[in-house]
């Protein structure tokens, strides 16, 4: 099985790719000008910021360095395309011949190209509306080699890619559209325009099953374009007739060749790789760490900040706690008090946490119960319930009763109590 992807995401620029209209308008058709409306006489002018982000993505995905980059016209007729051609990139794209490493392999990146988004089509029952606010919004298209060979790899690739893009400032929730190419047999089937990871995986699953059945039955798989039906969770042949795509590319003569040498590249962050490293170094679960940091800059930055001075388990617990109450952007110097408390086994409640977040005076947060007090309490409970020892020998879960008694009384993490309890009981 061979899977290749074309991933489209919107770039995080304030203005459009070829004009100075804002990319953040809400009222339809308010962020438009002669350029993004394709009015006769208007000419494109490149948003250099888009070039910067594009080059940074290319670098993060290990692409060969290109000294220059240029644009082409891709001609086709559709109501959402104001000039009847899209300004995009082909051979001279901002990124070429890169790869993205996942657990089991390197997935080749054939090309990374900048292009303009067409207008948005809003289909109503008996008419269609067009919103040109989206026309000219910068997109980056990432074209992979057909190197993905399982659902597992597909999922991993998408997660890793999204994480890298997230750390480069791309709003991955805004637009994440994929054309999925799958071939089990000789012929390639393309499923166009799937939005979101869940749908991509569902479409892949359906298509693999469909092609598998055809092959088993000795049938040929038609080379075709299909679309994904979200409601039915299935793919279906597109109504458009199948023909060799002919876009008649020519160089975009209104733009020049752009040097990429002076571009200041953003430093890529490979959160997944870091999570793996820390998991091994500090002996914590890689899965937990990844979940925390893949799409969370603040979480990663807290972990990096605290990892030398504090116990990783307490850091994770603190980050989880802050994440629960949306306080991950807490100032680093205030974080210190929280970490000290958590290390002592004290888990501040929401109120205390919010005081810590604001930097207000907190009475009990740092004054954690120490091990001595806990030990004393544990012994107290045992003394009151002598049978517990016998029960514990038969079933260690009986200890939960003691832990429960103590966490009722103190703001302390159950894990810490059970650790103390184990020590006492074995000692």
């Amino acid at each position: 099985m061979k899977i290749g992807l074309e991933v489209h995401v919107a770039l995080p620029t304030k203005t459009k790719l070829f004009c100075s209209c804002s990319t953040e308008a809400s009222e339809p058709n308010t962020s438009i000008c002669p350029i993004c409306m394709g009015l006769p006489g208007a000419k494109p002018m490149l948003n250099e910021k888009a070039l910067e982000v594009g080059a940074s993505i290319a670098k993060a995905l290990n692409c060969k360095t290109q000294d220059t980059t240029s644009f082409v016209r891709k001609v086709y007729f559709y109501p959402d395309l104001p000039k009847s051609f899209q300004i995009t990139q082909t051979e001279d794209a901002i990124g070429r011949e890169g790869y993205l490493g996942i657990d089991s392999k390197k997935v080749g990146i054939r090309r990374i190209q900048l292009e303009e988004d067409p207008a948005k089509i809003i289909r109503e029952e008996d008419y269609t509306l067009l919103d040109f606010n989206r026309s000219g919004v910068p997109l980056v298209e990432i074209v992979t080699e057909p190197d993905i060979s399982s659902e597992e790899e597909l999922r991993e690739f998408l997660t890793e890619l999204k994480s890298i893009l997230y750390y480069l400032g791309v709003d991955i929730e805004k637009e994440f559209k994929v054309d999925l190419n799958i071939s089990l047999g000789r012929n390639r089937v393309e499923i166009k325009n799937i939005t979101g990871v869940k749908n991509i995986i569902d479409a892949e699953r359906y298509e693999v099953e469909r092609q598998g059945k055809l092959l088993k039955a000795g049938q040929e798989i038609a080379a075709e374009t299909r679309s994904y039906n979200e409601a039915k969770m299935s793919t279906e042949a597109s109504r458009e007739k199948e023909s060799e795509e002919e876009y008649g590319f020519i160089y975009e003569p209104d733009l020049t060749t752009y040097s990429t040498k002076g571009i200041e590249l953003a430093k890529p962050v490979f959160a997944s790789r870091l999570a793996g490293e820390y998991a091994a170094r500090y002996n914590v679960s890689a899965k937990t760490l990844k979940e925390l940091v893949l799409f969370n800059k603040d979480a990663l930055s807290m972990i990096e900040h605290a990892k030398e001075k504090h116990d990783m388990k307490s850091i994770i617990a603190s980050v989880e706690l802050l994440s629960k109450y949306n306080m991950l952007d807490m100032k680093k110097e205030r974080l210190e008090r929280l970490l000290l408390a958590v290390e002592k086994g004290v888990y501040p409640d929401k109120e205390t946490l919010s005081k810590l977040y604001k930097g207000e005076q907190v009475e009990a947060a740092g004054d954690a119960v120490d091990n001595k007090t806990i030990d004393k309490e544990i012994r107290e409970v045992i003394k009151k319930n002598p049978s517990i020892l016998e029960e514990y020998k038969k079933n260690p879960k009986a200890a939960n009763f003691i832990v429960g008694q103590i966490t009722k009384k103190y703001k302390v993490h159950p894990r810490m109590v059970s650790e103390r309890l184990n020590e006492i009981l074995s000692g």
Binding site: P34, M37, G38, L39, P40, G41, A42, K43, P44, M45, L46, R73, V75, F77, Y78, P79, P82, K83, S84, F85, Y127, E246, G248, F249, I250, Y251, P253, D254, L255, T256
Partner: protein, 447 residues
């Protein structure tokens, strides 16, 4: 002898402009130079070729398909003219989208003011006629393959096409973006210089526009190119030889040279021009501006197709050929090869232009009558551009100027120089003008 200087030295009453318009209107009805006429609020009158946008004024590049398109912005060149105090007089007639050498590919062709039976030349037919009939006026015009030089020659005016990128193309309704150049027509080289100085220079709205320093390097040498005299009408050649003698008298060394690739220039030019124009014309779908199809209940394909029937035959020909030469299966044979020819031809011409100027007739044929021009096959029409295409294809500055009158009709010659040496050829024509008497049939708006 600058008419701009002369005009500005005088006290112009407000009543001058309505009188000018009144004088112009009936003659324009006969000659079809202007598509729209406005009453200037003041300043030296200038006209704008119809493919250059003027805010609030219908700008349709001589095409039916853009009927009713009123741009909400000024082309940079227009903006700069207005800011320099010039007065907008109107939009001038042209071959649809600039596709033509005789001004015939339009609804109502402009006529030659020297003899109305003859063509005015194209594609900037109206600009040349306007310049030829108005005493105080300059034309903002545009050339892709010879659209300034040719009509200027047929109408006996000076036509200047600058280095590619010298004047911003923002607001120009594209023919072929890598070849389109906004230039000037006037009644003297000095007027050309004054206008060029106002409109040139970089513009953030046109990436290909340059802020280069333009020079006036006189080379003291003039080349006559074998390929630029071969196939030229005998009558033209004999008077052209007299012009060459005059340049010798003016102190230039004249040498005969060859430009081997010149013969390939027409093919390369039409391939690039058609490839680019077929993409530029794709946007005309009768949808958001211009000619509108009111039936919205059809599939978009039918809707677009219906609107696109409004193109002139020549435009349809260029769409078909242009789409063909850039299609994947033949792109390398045509489009890619044409780009190579352009770059090699530029090398060859640059080598020559380092040493001197190129002088040649503008057209290989005498001004044809309307009917004669109409009977030409497309290929014959394309071939008539053989002398104007090499400089245009390479983006080299050139200036067309009248040098003789053959049976009352003007003949035009052109000087070509190297990129950015634009002022040098204006200077040469200024020198030439000292001993040359321009003839005009009309002098509308005389003071």
């Amino acid at each position: 002898m600058s008419s701009i200087g002369e005009f500005e030295g005088k006290d112009i009453p407000e009543s001058y402009y309505p009188k000018l318009v009144k004088e112009l209107e009936p003659i324009n009805k006969r000659l079809n130079a202007f598509l729209t006429i406005s009453n200037p609020e003041g300043g030296f009158p200038f006209s704008v070729k119809d493919n250059i946008c003027v805010n609030g004024v219908e700008s349709r590049a001589g095409s039916r398909i853009l009927k009713g398109y009123i741009p909400p912005f000024n082309a940079t060149a227009v903006e700069r003219m207005l800011n320099s105090g010039f007065g907008f007089l109107g939009k001038t007639n042209m071959d649809e989208f600039g596709f033509g050498s005789f001004g015939l590919n339009t609804e109502v062709p402009a006529k030659n003011p020297f003899d109305e039976r003859y063509v005015a030349g194209g594609s900037s037919s109206g600009a040349a006629v306007a310049t030829s009939i108005l005493k105080y006026h300059v034309a903002i015009s545009e050339s892709t393959g010879g659209s300034i030089a040719t009509p200027a020659a047929f109408c006996g005016v000076v036509g200047f096409t600058p280095t590619y990128g010298a004047v911003s193309r923002y607001g120009l309704i594209d023919y072929a973006n890598s070849l389109d150049k906004i230039g000037v027509m006037a009644r003297s080289a000095e007027d050309v210089r004054i206008v060029f100085d106002k409109v040139k220079g970089s513009d953030k709205y046109d990436t290909t526009c340059t802020d280069a320093k333009f020079t006036a390097k006189d080379k003291k040498k003039v080349f006559i190119i074998d390929q630029f005299t071969k196939g030229v009408d005998e009558k033209i050649l004999s008077s052209f030889e007299k012009l060459v003698e005059k340049f010798k008298d003016m102190g230039y060394n004249v040498e005969n040279r060859e430009i081997r690739l010149a013969e390939k220039a027409i093919a390369a030019y039409y391939i690039i021009a058609m490839a680019e124009s077929s993409t530029n014309l794709a946007k005309y779908t009768g949808f958001k501006y211009g000619l509108r199809n009111e039936r919205f209940d059809e599939h978009y394909n039918e809707f677009f197709t219906k609107a696109r029937k409004a193109f002139h035959k020549e435009s349809k020909r260029r769409i078909v050929l242009g789409t063909m030469v850039r299609s994947a299966s033949v792109r390398d044979r045509y489009y890619s090869k044409a780009l190579k020819v352009r770059s090699l031809l530029l090398d060859e011409m640059n080598a020559l232009l380092k040493e001197g100027f190129i002088l040649s007739p503008v057209m290989p044929i005498l001004t044809p009558k309307m009917a004669e021009a109409e009977s030409l096959t497309p290929l014959e029409m394309y071939k008539s551009d053989m002398l104007t295409i090499p400089a245009n294809l390479c983006g080299l500055p050139h200036i067309s100027f009248p040098y003789a009158y053959e049976k009352g009709m003007p003949l035009g010659a052109q000087l070509i120089t190297s990129q950015f040496n634009d002022y040098a050829i204006m200077d040469m024509v200024s020198k030439w003008e000292k001993d040359f008497e321009y003839r005009f049939k009309y002098n509308l708006g005389e003071l």
